[in-house]
Symmetry: C2
Subunit: 168 residues, 2 copies
């Protein structure tokens, strides 16, 4: 049986819920990290969208969102977009292969207001076998406040400590 493509995965299932359980502890997007942000990216085959409302403590100065939180959202959403675009080629079964960030660039175009739900949009700009470049926008109230670029790469095997245990 051919594994389904990400676009055909169960409707509403976030990209990050298609990672292997043992690789789902990420502070930014791991479903197994109760203390984390739990970013969830939804892929439609072309674009990934995520929505996140920063918590009151995610403040920079009064009224505005902390840049490091915005960078974190860009990071996880960018990596998720890369994983979704790469599909099931990098892992067995129906789990998405796990990508890591090689580099992250974030331009803070204007202050991002605190207290509103943010929308993230990710789109693949370049897709090579060992490198996926993703453009990410962050919008607040429909206005782009941040532009990011994530260079993602398939997770090196030597980072998969759980997998090493599993494989003996």
């Amino acid at each position: 049986m051919t594994p389904p493509s990400p676009a055909e995965s169960p409707k509403g299932l976030p990209v990050q819920h298609q990672y292997a359980q043992e690789l789902s502890h990420c502070y930014g997007c791991g479903r197994n990290n109760p203390d984390g942000l739990q970013v969830q990216s939804h892929w439609d085959g072309q674009t990934a969208v995520a929505r996140y409302t920063p918590r009151p403590e995610h403040i920079a100065v009064p009224g505005f969102v902390y840049g490091g939180l915005l960078a974190s959202l860009v990071d996880c959403h960018g990596v998720g977009t890369a994983a979704a675009a790469a599909g099931f080629g990098h892992a067995e079964g129906t789990q998405l292969g796990r990508f890591v960030t090689a580099s992250l660039h974030v331009d803070f175009l204007r202050p991002t207001p605190l207290g509103v739900q943010l929308e993230l949009r990710g789109r693949v700009r370049e897709h090579k076998r060992r490198k996926v470049v993703v453009d990410v926008e962050v919008l607040a109230g429909g206005v782009i406040t941040v532009r990011g670029e994530v260079v993602a790469a398939p997770m090196p095997e030597d980072m998969d400590l759980a997998g090493q245990d599993r494989r003996g």
Copy 2:
């Protein structure tokens, strides 16, 4: 009385403790944010150093630190380095002027191990009136795992909502 330069500030006082109280809520480095990371950068007149031990939940995949946390550390330490280098010119009294991040670039050179204290080093590469470019390195066990660049700018007046209230 001439305000002291940052290099002459009380020994051991972190850069971030020299920001105005009402601008010290930052999730990454605000001393008034009990839920935040409370990064503290120490400036010797040439270089700023900070040390931070990521919490267990700051995980990417088992064994390694989350990239968004590393980006956050680079961000706050870079902005702090810029503020220290700029000195007291941007604010009244002996408070450091507050800088914000215009752009952030982070290269993840190798995975950063979780469970050890990290060291951040910041150095100003370019210093213009409205723009300070800071290079930041993150080291784990003496090995550079991350290189970052922060372009910092003095905080625009329209972001200082507390100051606007203060000024009426």
